[in-house]
Amino acid sequence: MDPLLYVLDLIVFIGIFGMVSLSLNLEFGFAGLANFGKVAFFLIGAYTYALLSQTGVPFYFCLIASAIVSAVFGLLISLPALRLRADYLAIAVLAFGEILRLIVKSEDWLAGGDWGVTVAPAISIAGASHRVDALINIGLVYFCLLICFLLIQLLANSPYGRAIRAIREDEVAAEVLGKDRAKFKAQALMLGSAMAGVAGGLYVQYQYSVLPGMFMPMITFTVWIMVLLGGPGNNWGVLLGATLVEVFERGTNIAKDYFVLPIDPSNLQYILFGALIIFVLLYRPQGLLKESTIRSKAQRLAYYGRRAAKSKGS
């Protein structure tokens, strides 16, 4: 295969999973919600996109629909889930993802069951090479990634970001200081789910098909590794984590085409990922890049302005 295509393909994957890990960063890194059902919202976005694009709706409407439908499910799951303690929330949403996967797998009428359905690419140019296709996808994916990144970055440095971080730190204290924790958590889950949904739509149009087997729970755990490795609460770190994990994951898949090994390295991946999580949590629990503090020029200006005025006065 064309080696450049490997690289372009890798870049697309980094973009798509970068988006999913950013969405988990909003939920877990900033709001402290242990969403172990990330793949569920990725799946909802993917199937929404696939089913809608079959009716001939333009791709941007499909992506917006993916975001909205995923957000609605994010809100629905938040209603019972937020009454649960963090560890039970994790179990509940993990089960939710598996239930959804089994539904699309067994309900043949919905989207072809186990066989899935084919999905047309968002933008296709007649007679274009694979390289051009990949470049178009890079443009589309990174445009969406940029929007997600800017949204989360703006949120994280606003009073809203301060409030959800406060809820993460101590939800009782935040509640008696006027933060409606249920509302903030539901919003974080909605927004995070919408982003994961868009990523799901982008993923299936890039793969030309949607199959239940694309939404195994391992996706959730891979995204968690990206966030934990990169640094929860740091958007750049999370993108770095996504890049490293994707390079490793895709790299081993490519390498096995060239090297003859006694075992399939894809199976070894899971063991290595498990070891990586343990290693990161033991030796660098804050991740590669530590949480970014709230950047506020106004705070610094006021503080140093005052000190300067004081030293002048004395």
């Binding site: 606003s158 009073p159 008696v176 200081l177 709230i294 705070q299």
Partner: protein
């Protein structure tokens, strides 16, 4: 009735078979420092948590500014200006001292999802004023040099001061303080009470649990004495000191 800011009426709260608070009634007036004392386990903190909405009372009603707040969520009670500082500080430890303060400001424009993204100019303008206000309070509690330090790096006493400062940031009408002077050096403890008294002269009402009676009795204008979940008696600090029953309750003498 107009003068009563907080009215607790026949409030009871039990956990299992234990009545932590049993038929407590009391009034807090506008302005001034009101004390709440009693031995450990007498129900002071449970009473505070019930007023705050963290516990729903099993019986009785709580009125704040003549409206019942017994069934409101804690954040709604807070919005009305009833604010608390915990006995054991519950800070947002990974946030800076300044951000801890700013979280607590009431009526923020920017802590709504839509506003934070799309009405940036509006909340940024408000934020400037809040930062100045936070710096004033940090100066008051002597934490200004640590404004950008993560709260986790503060000492035990400084954490208590930030807990207090954060509560003041809300510009409360009534402030519930659970042992504000505990763990703080005596000079600063007294200084804090002096500053609280100055604030109370401007209309802030304070309801204070404190075991450092020599400080509390100097500043409080009225004191409730709690024992075994009930209000044993109440009065001016001098009357409390002169009452032999008070020593019996506090020191466990018969």
């Amino acid at each position: 009735m107009e003068d009563v800011l907080l009215r607790v009426k026949e409030v009871s709260k039990h956990f299992g078979g234990v009545y932590a608070v049993n038929g407590v009634s009391l009034d807090i007036n506008h302005g001034g420092i009101c004390g709440l004392v009693g031995p450990n386990g007498s129900g002071k903190t449970t009473l505070f948590n019930t007023i705050l909405g963290l516990h729903k009372p099993d019986q009785g009603e709580i009125y704040f500014q003549n409206e019942s707040i017994s069934h409101l969520a804690p954040h709604k009670i807070y919005e009305r200006g009833l604010v608390n500082a915990f006995q054991i500080p519950r800070l947002f430890y990974s946030l800076s001292v300044m951000d801890n303060m700013l979280v607590a400001a009431r009526g923020q424009q920017g802590d709504r999802l839509f506003n934070s993204l799309f009405l940036r100019a509006r909340w940024q303008e408000q934020e400037k004023g809040l930062i100045e206000q936070a710096l004033d309070i940090l100066e008051l509690v002597e934490l200004e040099p640590w404004a950008f330090t993560p709260a986790a790096e503060l000492s035990g006493g400084q954490r208590k001061l930030l807990e207090l400062g954060r509560a003041l940031m809300a510009k409360p009408r009534l402030l519930l303080l659970d042992e504000p002077a505990a763990g703080i050096n005596p000079v600063l403890g007294k200084k804090i009470f002096q500053k609280l008294q100055a604030l109370s002269a401007n209309g802030l009402a304070l309801f204070v649990v404190e075991h450092r009676l020599e400080i509390l009795f100097e500043f409080a204008s009225w004191v409730y004495v709690m024992d075994k979940g009930t209000i044993a008696f109440a009065g001016h600090p001098q009357a409390i000191i002169d009452n032999p029953a008070f020593y019996a309750i506090y020191l466990g003498e018969e």
